[in-house]
């Protein structure tokens, strides 16, 4: 965390010139086109997500409402949204233990630097100096798909230690109890004050009205007991998680719902290095040839690693994903995203406007 933002910026940013344009509010992503044309009739009243419907605004487009039987992709395969949830769960239950090694392999260790930069650039817990009694304002950070705690722990470090603001709490939410359990174990190494500011909940990012406390390993996930209220979150983060979601538009709308006006959606995800053909070719060669093989050798699990590589390939481009964020109601600054390491990863940010 000792890395200065300017240094990181220099090291990470490949294209300093920005296309300072407002995001066009058009959807070009083929997947979205596909989703837009999906028949609404496939959505039956017996759907397990029906409880959410009441909380969604009436003008939510059909493609942003989870539909268990709608087709989506799982890597290069086409599956239903419900099947994808199951299969992603299997992948992450399987890789939970080898997760750190996996991340190092897939990013050549860069993911640590990307995560540092992501958190530093968000500067959680920062409050201006004012003449008031306590200049520091409390913040609630929701780390979605927070799995093993990588982002949440950095957030606490920056907020509590660097910015001296103990009034920042972080909720780690993940659909997968195996990943959360690893995170919970790792959190025991944190200072007590930071542990006290953390909470762990199981939830599908597409429906944050149904959350459950983390269940002990081996037990069944308890029925959802609570909800993340509307307009209750200052900062919503999702790092290397969103490409695994079955219905990304639905997740973006949930992010919008739980954020306060002025709250920020921030996403760190593998992206497209298309602007740098050589880097792109090298990275694709590496990921498609080497990663599944190494996955087999290191974790004895070729298929899970094959999926992770394919899911990166299937994820929309920087501009397409920015358009999806804008479509969900967010406003952006600049071009709405920032490339890291030539676009191998990218940070997208959006703010919930006051209406």
């Amino acid at each position: 965390m000792a890395v200065r933002p300017t240094q990181l910026r220099r090291a990470l940013l490949q294209s300093p010139s920005r296309l300072r344009q407002t995001a066009p509010n058009t959807i070009q992503h083929p997947e979205l086109q596909h989703l837009l044309s999906a028949a609404p009739s496939a959505f039956s009243s017996a759907c397990p997500f029906s409880s959410t419907i009441t909380t969604r605004t009436q003008n939510t487009p059909d493609y942003a409402v989870p539909n268990p039987s709608r087709p989506t992709h799982f890597g290069f395969q086409t599956v239903t949204e419900a099947e994808k949830v199951e299969r992603v769960a299997t992948v992450f239950t399987s890789v939970a233990e080898s997760y750190d090694r996996m991340n190092d392999l897939m990013s050549f260790g860069w993911h640590r630097i990307w995560k540092d930069y992501f958190v530093t650039s968000l500067n959680p817990g920062f409050s201006p100096l004012t003449s008031g009694l306590d200049p520091r304002a409390p913040q609630h950070i929701l780390d979605i798909a927070g799995g093993t705690g990588d982002i949440a722990f950095r957030m606490l470090q920056t907020a509590h230690v660097v910015n001296g603001n103990p009034d920042v709490r972080v909720t780690i939410s993940d659909i997968n109890p195996a990943m959360l359990t690893v995170g919970k174990q790792r959190s025991t190494l944190l200072p007590a004050s930071q542990q006290a500011a953390l909470s762990f909940v199981e939830a599908n990012a597409e429906d944050l009205t149904r959350t459950a406390p983390l269940s002990p390993p081996g037990t069944r996930t308890p029925a959802p007991t609570s909800t993340i209220p509307d307009a209750s979150v200052d900062l919503y983060t999702v790092a290397f998680g969103i490409r695994n979601f079955s219905n990304i538009p639905a997740a973006l709308r949930e992010a919008y719902r739980v954020l306060k006006p002025g709250g920020v959606f921030a996403c760190l995800e593998f992206s497209k290095a298309d602007a740098h053909p050589l880097l792109n070719t090298l990275y694709k060669e590496w990921s498609f040839r080497a990663i599944p093989l190494i996955g087999q050798l290191v974790a004895g699990d070729r298929d899970s690693y094959q999926y992770l590589v394919e899911s990166i390939e299937k994820f929309p481009s920087q501009a397409e994903f920015r358009d999806m964020i804008v479509d969900a109601g967010f406003v952006v600054g600049g071009q709405g995203y920032e490339d890291l390491t030539g676009g191998v990863a990218a940070i997208h940010k959006g703010m919930k406007p006051r209406v």
Partner: protein, 298 residues
Amino acid sequence: MPSPPAASRSAGAAAAVARRILHPSSLLPPGTTSLKPCLRAATTTTTHAHTTTPRHHLPASLPIPTRTSSRPYHSYSHPPPPGPFTPTESLLLAAAYRHVPTHGFSASALALGARDAGYLDISPTIVPDGVFSLVQWHLVTQREALAARSVALFGDGQKGPNVVASRVEALAWERLLGNAEVVWQWQEALAIMAQPSYVPASVKELAMLADEIWFLAGDVAVDPTWYTKRASLSAIYAAAELFMTNDRSLGFRDTQEFLRRRLQEASEMGNVARSVREWLSFTASAGINVLRSKGVQI
């Protein structure tokens, strides 16, 4: 302004840099000059848009603080000016800018502005370049406000070669006064602009300012002096801006004097540039003749 870093350090260095900048421009092939009108066309569109908007009824000689603080651009309730900012950025930056005189070009100013606008401490994180964007906000709004100042100063009076030089000085001085309200924060702003990743954008903004000043002053010459004029004005302006951060004289009179002297020197230097150019073209054609004599097809 970090552009020619040496230029910012001292006045003498500024002249030296200006002289160095003069050289390459005189080496440009004749075809290159055709770029100029296109470049000008791009900037004039916004300029004309400004001169036609009736948002400047300010007399030319108000006391400095009143004038700068009452400039309509700086109100965040005002529709955002055109520029490189998205509407949301404009909203956050305009609100933050009101805190710059007390809090500097800082994260605190950004957060306080966000609070004023009804947003959160975390909201300004979507502004792509953070505090540098806040500096850019100052640079862009001040540059764009010059068109209105120009009308207030000169009206639509006739332009000619003998008035251009005095107008350049008057406009550069107007622009310097635009820094008066944030002058205590300006060294900090220069440090932000000097960060390597921000230098290209800062230099570009300085070049756009020089271009705007020459244009508003009524300079219509499209000839090889186009580059030298802009380069030397950039260097002089940058040096004067730095000088101003240490100027304690009443109404920044010393800065005004500094600016006048440097512009005077540069106009004398223009003659130097012309002779340098003549020498270069002579040498170049002589070189070509030598090559031809050796059988090279040129």
